[in-house]
């Protein structure tokens, strides 16, 4: 499909790359220069008005920022790195994006094609390394292949189940000359991103739902990726189906929706896990039955008929056997099922969730959110921050206890408000992802919760924040421990705290050195004021809250266990 940007003059491969990115609507990229990508950075120098480049401090940061950008903006995130160590530093982010279905195009420089395979300076087998962690990885050795490859890359990254693509461009392909003509890719014969809708499947799903007395829905990120929040709501409301969300599916529906029963999985709400094993029809919508959601598959929802909506055929029957599969984009399939389902009321069934929530509130939530004495609790901070943003902020998290507190207690009113590393569980994700999220959604408040461990894995990105005046609110929940590992040591390793205590620096001083305003809170009565100060401050802000040293995230389903065997802590039983 021809775009207008066609030229008969010869341009360099680097210019072709920049024009291709512009043709794909790219306005922001995250990157770090180096020898083998210098020609591209040189071409970028002439296009600063069209493409904004954010210079990160480490390539891992570039990829996580591109992920945050993609997740907040619905666009494809782009990262630009050099060969060898530049590319290998990007690997963690690329793997993270594959696990969480995040559309990315990662462009790496590569040594001149004549040197390929010779162990040249800063050469790494980027294609060999990235093939298992991408949807597509391609090495470009000739300038005339750049437009073609970029077009394919964006199509593959953004279509169907999204994911990361790597383009590895030899230096001589960047400097060589070519004609330029850009054609958007809209079809590849070997790749069917969205399976055709099968009406028999739609009817079978609707039949099962119409017969259900105790239906329960599991909402995953597929809804967000398909921008199908309205379609989901219409479906759930018409058939009156209560639902739980995976952590990546959390903001697809408002937190306070009457059918919303909370979060699924290891640290999910009690009711959603118990009811998964009581429902008669389980409706999975754009989720992949991750082991952190299902626990032991042999005892998972065995009583239920399972309907699985997914865009990726390979997910059907991968972990949980589906009685009815509904292949396709949920944006299309959900309305078709909604049309066939009869309006229903499952009042009694829905009310049966309530006592379980009340128990959870009494045993866990009240003490986590509203303690009146003792050390500050993580959940308490998360709840106060969410309320202070009127539940309208984007919540980014790093990985660990604070992440589970963020997913459990932050509240959402808008879609695309939960940005966290779900599948890979990448410590160090939070800070750079928040940078990307702010560029992706500049009008929204971006709050990032980090722990003292993960913060220090990508703390160098404070430099990026300083240089670009990026207005993100960093809430550091500091317990001077690798808290989640410590929690497991307490529960499963006989309280042997091997290498989980951290001697930490003065974080506020570090922020100060970067010109970022910071404040440390150790007392409960300072908390509200500090949060208000953070949110009203123009620009980045670090709020360090010293929290309970040995806090625990409950409820907890031990890894690989039956999801109804839930540890509540403090001797409580369901």
């Amino acid at each position: 499909m021809k775009e207008n940007d066609t030229t008969n003059e010869m341009i360099t491969g680097s210019e072709a790359l920049i024009r291709s990115l512009i043709a794909e609507g790219v306005s922001t990229i995250f990157g770090y220069p180096g020898g083998a990508i210098m020609p591209v950075f040189d071409a970028l120098y002439d296009c600063k008005d069209r493409i904004r480049h954010i210079l990160v401090r480490h390539e891992q940061g570039a990829v996580h920022a591109a992920e945050g950008y993609a997740r907040a903006s619905k666009k494809v995130g782009v990262a630009l790195v050099t060969s060898g160590p530049g590319a290998t530093n990007a690997i963690t982010g690329i793997t993270d994006a594959l696990m969480d279905s995040t559309p990315l195009v990662v462009i790496s420089g590569q040594v001149t094609s004549s040197l390929l395979g010779s162990d040249a300076f800063q050469e790494a087998d980027v294609i060999g390394i990235t093939q298992p962690i991408t949807k597509w990885a391609y090495q470009i050795r000739r300038p005339e292949d750049i437009a073609w490859a970029v077009s394919r890359a964006f199509y593959i990254a953004s279509s169907g189940r999204p994911g990361p693509v790597v383009l590895d461009i030899a230096k001589d392909a960047q400097t060589g000359k070519c004609n330029f003509s850009y054609e958007k890719t809209i079809f590849l014969r070997s790749y069917e991103p969205v399976p055709e809708i099968d009406h028999e499947q739609i009817e079978a799903a609707a039949d099962l739902i119409n017969q259900a007395k105790k239906p329960f829905a599991l909402v995953g990120q597929g809804v967000t990726l398909g921008n199908a929040e309205n379609e989901l709501r219409a479906f759930l409301e018409k058939a009156d189906i209560p639902f739980g969300s995976t952590i990546l599916g959390l903001s697809a529906m408002p937190s306070d929706h009457p059918l919303n029963c909370g979060m699924l999985g290891m640290h999910g709400n009690i009711a959603t896990n118990i009811k998964t094993n009581e429902c008669d029809v389980l409706i999975a919508i754009g989720m992949r039955f991750d082991d952190r959601v299902t626990g032991d598959l042999n005892t998972y929802a065995k009583q239920a008929k399972v309907i699985h909506f997914d865009i990726d055929r390979a997910e059907i029957n991968k972990n949980v056997k589906a009685d009815v599969k509904v292949l396709g984009d949920v944006k299309q399939t959900l309305p078709k099922v909604t049309e066939l389902v009869k309006p229903a009321k499952h009042t009694e069934w829905i009310e049966s969730f309530k006592p379980l929530y009340d128990k959870e509130f009494e045993y866990i939530i009240r003490n986590e959110l509203y303690p009146d004495s003792g050390e500050i609790k993580m959940g308490e901070v998360v709840n106060k921050v969410a309320e202070a943003t009127h539940n309208e902020a984007i919540c980014v998290t790093d990985v660990g206890q604070h992440q589970m507190m963020g997913t459990r207690y932050f509240k959402f009113t808008q879609p695309r408000s939960m940005i966290t590393s779900g599948g890979l569980g990448t410590m160090g994700f939070g800070l750079p992802a928040a940078i990307g999220a702010k560029y992706g959604a500049p009008d929204r408040t971006v709050v990032v919760f980090v722990g003292d461990g993960g913060f220090q894995m990508t703390i160098q990105e404070l430099g990026t924040i300083m240089e670009n005046n990026i207005d993100i609110k960093i809430v550091l929940l500091n317990n001077n421990f690798l808290g989640m590992v410590r929690q497991w040591q307490e529960l499963f390793f006989d309280e042997r705290y091997s290498e989980t205590h951290l001697k930490n620096p003065d974080f506020v001083k570090i922020a100060d050195a970067y010109g970022i305003k910071g404040r440390k809170v150790t007392q409960r009565d300072e908390l509200d004021d500090a949060i208000a100060e953070m949110l009203s401050h123009q620009g980045a802000y670090l709020l360090e809250v010293v929290v309970e040293t040995k806090g625990m995230v409950y409820p907890m389903v031990p890894a690989g266990g039956n999801i109804t065997n839930i540890i509540l802590g403090n001797g409580y039983k369901i």
Binding site: M1, G128, S190
Partner: protein, 192 residues
């Protein structure tokens, strides 16, 4: 070994660099050993055909593995069969010392029994070719090794075709080109 079934996985791919790596990493991750592998251009220009055999205790694990392969962007189609659904063949070459063969005396009965083709006779060596199933090429190897001695032996990966009337790829390609026209038409309409 006894409770494992041999599955034959057939894969059609675009002729792109690195497809084999994409396929083998999926076997590696799922801890499935490749028993045999054969790759060649297919009947359709530009499309390569891989035939891979692997042992598995459950059909389920092969099904999941094939789904993951089929999902790769450069893979057109992947499917699996058991032996009863296939006509399959392997080739084997055997190099023997001419002197030892002559010492042995007549080999007519071997040639007839195994339907051997003789590819080369020189004063140093004789090369036999045998096509057949694994058990057949293996039986010949064992008999030659015992009676004459084998200098070199090599066996190819399995090649196979399904017993069903058409190659499933042609149907799929026809459907895909219909889809292509549909997609391009609707794209042009929305961009007019």
């Amino acid at each position: 070994m006894e409770n494992k079934t041999l599955y034959t996985i057939t894969i059609f791919s675009e002729n792109a660099v690195g497809v084999l790596n994409q396929i083998t990493t999926i076997f590696t991750r799922r801890q499935v050993n490749i028993e045999t592998l054969s790759v060649s251009p297919s009947a359709i220009p530009g499309i390569h055909k891989f035939t891979i055999t692997a042992l598995s205790e459950t059909e389920e694990s092969i099904k999941k593995l094939v789904n993951q392969i089929d999902k790769q962007v450069d893979i057109l189609k992947a499917f699996y069969n058991t032996n009863d659904e296939l006509v399959h063949q392997e080739l084997a070459l055997y190099k023997l010392s001419t002197e030892k063969v002559l010492e042995h005396g007549s080999i007519e009965y071997l040639v007839r029994k195994y339907n051997i083709r003789v590819l080369e006779i020189s004063k140093d060596c004789i090369v036999f070719l045998k096509a057949g199933h694994y058990v057949e090429t293996q039986a010949l190897f064992e008999e030659l090794a015992e009676k004459i001695g084998v200098l070199q032996f090599v066996r190819s990966g399995r090649i196979a075709i399904t017993k069903s009337p058409v190659e499933r790829l042609s149907d799929m390609l026809a459907k895909r080109s219909e889809a292509e026209e549909r997609i391009k038409e609707s794209y042009n309409k929305t961009n007019e």
